[in-house]
Symmetry: C2
Subunit: 535 residues, 2 copies
């Protein structure tokens, strides 16, 4: 079972140090602490364990070190910054793991960019040595890339020529869309296994600065300082992220505010998020804690329970308490409050991006699909609501539904739902401002997919879940990935929708992962044998 | 060998009739004329042969029947409009064929939408009976969908529940992005094999009108007339599209203006487009004919020579003649001239969308990468230019490079090339207005990827082509699909980049095409057995 909750004191692969405005993340991959046996993490190559620590570190800097304005990525090795995802690990992994690994790594890269755009936390990749594959993809996610000019160190994407796969964590999209490397040059770059170094790397826009070894340290410090000087957003006060420490049993994962019931025979997981009453709490309040737990639960479901195809999402508790938390956060001018909302936004995107069928269900008077928890229902593929006689089952809107919680497309979930009719968004929010919207009305307003009364509800829902769980997981993944992304595309959706889809396909092809595929044979004396048919 | 050039007099599956402003395309699939043996084209299901005729018909209406303002799609069967792509044909096809079949069909659907948007040719799907899968996808590409309300006829996407694949010719994207069907309803619709009929189909936005059998004919006529009345763009004069009739030998495809040399051992095809001197011709001039030939050549390469992984694109002739054609077309206010330019635009997009590595090469003084032929070089993954002593090898710009020839992203090829620096687009066009831009300067301006002199050129190009031909076709396809789509995404790029990529992946998965996959077992008594791991 993979665990995602960690702490700098337990890192094996990174060293986080903070000095005033500057945090340094020193990459020093420890071969003794690979996620699984069977491969060696040489040359600062990484596996999921390395990336879990990276994600944790970025998040902790945001919450626990508000004075930090720039994070510098550097490496402990003298001639290698990072050589990318470990190829032997990839070669030995299942398709499902490879896909989820790439997705998680992509999310972590995007969180760096989110921190830069919204949280006054810039990033600098200080590449003093070989920067290959996923190592260069990490650099591409930073605001600025420094490459040492030693006649040897290059940035490179050797995946296509050496492994017959793509740079899979956003690299191709970031090359042309973010860094605006000319597409024909990007084409050359991606087929030259040894990469591009020195002046040409700068001329082509692959890096921002090339720096001699003698001037390296002072230049890194100066550039970090210059990046910090661009920051005009303040975080804080500092809040420590406490351990999540869920109780995991065979059929259940139990957190303080979140419970996951694992019905393995049915291939269904029921995720229940409960409201909290710690409105006046300082530090880690419900808004943060519950979403940290939800995030952890989603990651466990992705990696540890890949066969549970349907997520039933429920809520339980006091809708008014949820709304109060939403309002308090929105009104609070502190950097901490903004961080919490940004974190909730990322968790909701993690849900959007989870390749499981998601059915939200309000079937009990204690359901509280209100405000930020209503976003769970709007993120779902379908939302089932029971019509009860006294209309106690209802949804409620808050400031949380009014635009802040954008999806990867840039639209809010209500805007995406009513892509045809923006007036309907206004109508729903206006109606929500008046009070709870009971099930039948929620269906009429287009919030509920299906509202049914006592006589039909249980059977209809049961059959729908059973049917869903019986369909091909692959077809559902492709279908959901298409239907969930209504509207505009962004670099983020291009990464998950275009680049990842191609990579998934390539990972299944014999030329990469077949017996004679390049990924399979990497590091062995045999040469790969390709099937030449183009598609 | 699949042939793409046909004529209404030779159609087996469609009947084209023209009556004033209204053309009718009656679908009557003839089982005796499937593209290949081994499956039966029952219930108006289609294969590539059917779609080749459809593409031909739409194009001929544009050029040969300028008075037509609306095309009505209807069927010869009483209870079935179209039951989609033939499943047995798909089940028996190679992966490469399936992918190319879907791509071609998608392109044809997009051409209908292009005709509506730009050519004053609207379309109406008159669905008097079952409208399933690709049949509904054809309807979705029309401006308006009529569904008969007979208590039985439904529109449906049964692919996911019955076949474990996606509706693969743009359907999912068109549902939510074009028709703006609410995403949770789209989710329900795509998992209900029997589809949705009557009032609910209209309420959900799946169709525009539901019409009783008794009022069917008059309503279809009235809606066609109403659509025609919205047209304010005139085509014409009529120009007949003459047979292409290339001479095909083992190593060569020879047209009037285009030659394709097939170096099968090297897996390289060299496509040479020659300039024409028929500037004063009426009717099918060089601008139209050469691009019709190029289009046909690209389709033959896709379907008949899937192992030729590298397309070397050359031009030959008189650059001034190309520029003169460009200028004449741009100045000509006739609908015909506009149609020719729109056709050239579609052919250039067909090139963008061709999953082969494209290297444009100017290595001879007779090269004429000028105006619309310069777009070939800008569409290429790389552009190699020889530096000759007297600078006779050069590129030239024309009105054709100034914005009309948009790619699927909506950007022109120059805008996509200089996505970082729009000023560079202006600079290139300004410099081009002064005269030919020789190789070395073209490289400095960012038009040529690599310019080299006599000493290095031949070796460098030869090695680059050999290297390219040695790389994994799959990784190259994914890489090129990512790098060629710089910038914004559109419904068109979502279809090819997101939906098609997922479909390709799904097509390779055991749950669809494995021994016990749903597509494999369709129509047999055995039930598919799925691997449940989600990705």
């Amino acid at each position: 079972m993979t665990e995602f909750d960690t702490h700098p004191s337990r890192y094996h692969h990174w060293k986080l140090s903070v000095d005033g405005e500057v945090a340094t993340l020193l990459m020093k991959v420890d071969d003794d602490h690979a996620l699984r046996p069977g491969y060696e993490l040489k040359l600062n190559s990484y596996d999921l364990a390395v990336d879990i620590e990276l994600a944790d570190a970025i998040n902790r800097i945001r919450f626990e070190h508000p004075a930090v304005k720039v994070v510098v990525f550097t490496a402990d090795l003298d001639r290698v910054f990072c050589s990318g995802a470990n190829i032997y690990m990839l070669g030995a992994s299942t398709h499902s793991f490879k896909v989820n690994f790439c997705k998680f790594t992509n999310e972590t890269r995007l969180y760096l960019e989110d921190a830069s755009a919204n949280s006054g936390l810039k990033s600098l990749a200080a590449c003093k040595g070989t920067t290959a594959g996923g190592g260069y993809e990490l650099a591409l996610a930073c605001d600025e890339i420094l490459l040492v000019d030693d006649g040897n160190s290059a940035v490179s994407f050797p995946e296509t020529p050496l492994l017959a796969v793509l740079p899979g964590t956003g690299g191709l999209t970031r090359l042309v869309d973010k860094r605006k490397v000319r597409r024909d040059r990007a084409d050359v770059f991606c087929t030259v296994a040894e990469g591009i170094k020195g002046k040409r790397a700068k001329d082509w826009g692959l890096v921002d600065h090339v720096v001699s070894r003698s001037k390296w340290d002072e230049t890194v410090a100066a550039r970090a300082k210059a990046l910090a000087a661009t920051v005009d957003v303040a975080r804080g006060p500092a809040v420590e992220l406490a351990p999540l420490a869920p109780k995991v049993t065979d059929g259940k994962i139990e957190y303080r505010h979140v419970t996951v019931e694992l019905a393995k025979a049915d291939r269904v997981a029921t995720v229940t998020v409960r409201s909290g009453d710690d409105l006046t709490a300082t530090g880690e309040n419900w808004s943060l804690r519950a979403f940290r737990e939800l995030d952890d639960a989603l990651l466990r479901l992705r990696f540890n329970y890949p066969e549970l195809g349907v997520l039933v999402v429920k809520t339980k508790g006091d809708a008014a308490a949820v709304l109060a938390h939403d309002e308090a956060l929105a009104k609070d001018p502190s950097g901490f409050a903004r961080e919490v909302r940004l974190f909730q936004r990322r968790v909701l995107k993690r849900l959007d991006n989870t390749a499981r069928s998601i059915f939200a269900v309000a079937d009990d008077k204690s359901a509280c699909f209100a405000g930020v928890l209503l976003e769970l229902a709007l993120a779902a593929d379908r939302f089932y609501m029971l019509i009860d006689a006294d209309e106690a089952i209802a949804v409620r809107t808050s400031v949380a539904n009014a635009g802040f919680f954008t999806t990867a497309t840039g639209l809010s979930r209500l805007e995406a739902r009513f892509y045809a009719t923006p007036d309907q968004v206004k109508k729903v929010l206006a109606r929500g401002a008046e009070g709870p919207i009971p099930s039948e009305e929620a269906e009429q307003l287009g919030i509920a997919t299906i509202a049914a009364d006592d006589i039909d509800f249980a059977d209809e829902l049961r059959i729908a879940i059973e049917e869903r769980a019986s369909l091909s997981p692959d077809a559902l993944t492709g279908m959901e990935a298409s239907l969930r992304c209504v509207g505009p595309e962004t670099m983020e959706t291009k990464i998950f929708g275009r680049l990842s889809a191609w990579q998934n396909w390539i990972f299944t092809r014999a030329n990469a992962t077949g017996e004679k595929g390049a990924l399979t044979l990497y590091g062995r004396p045999e040469r790969p044998a390709f099937q030449w048919t183009r598609t």
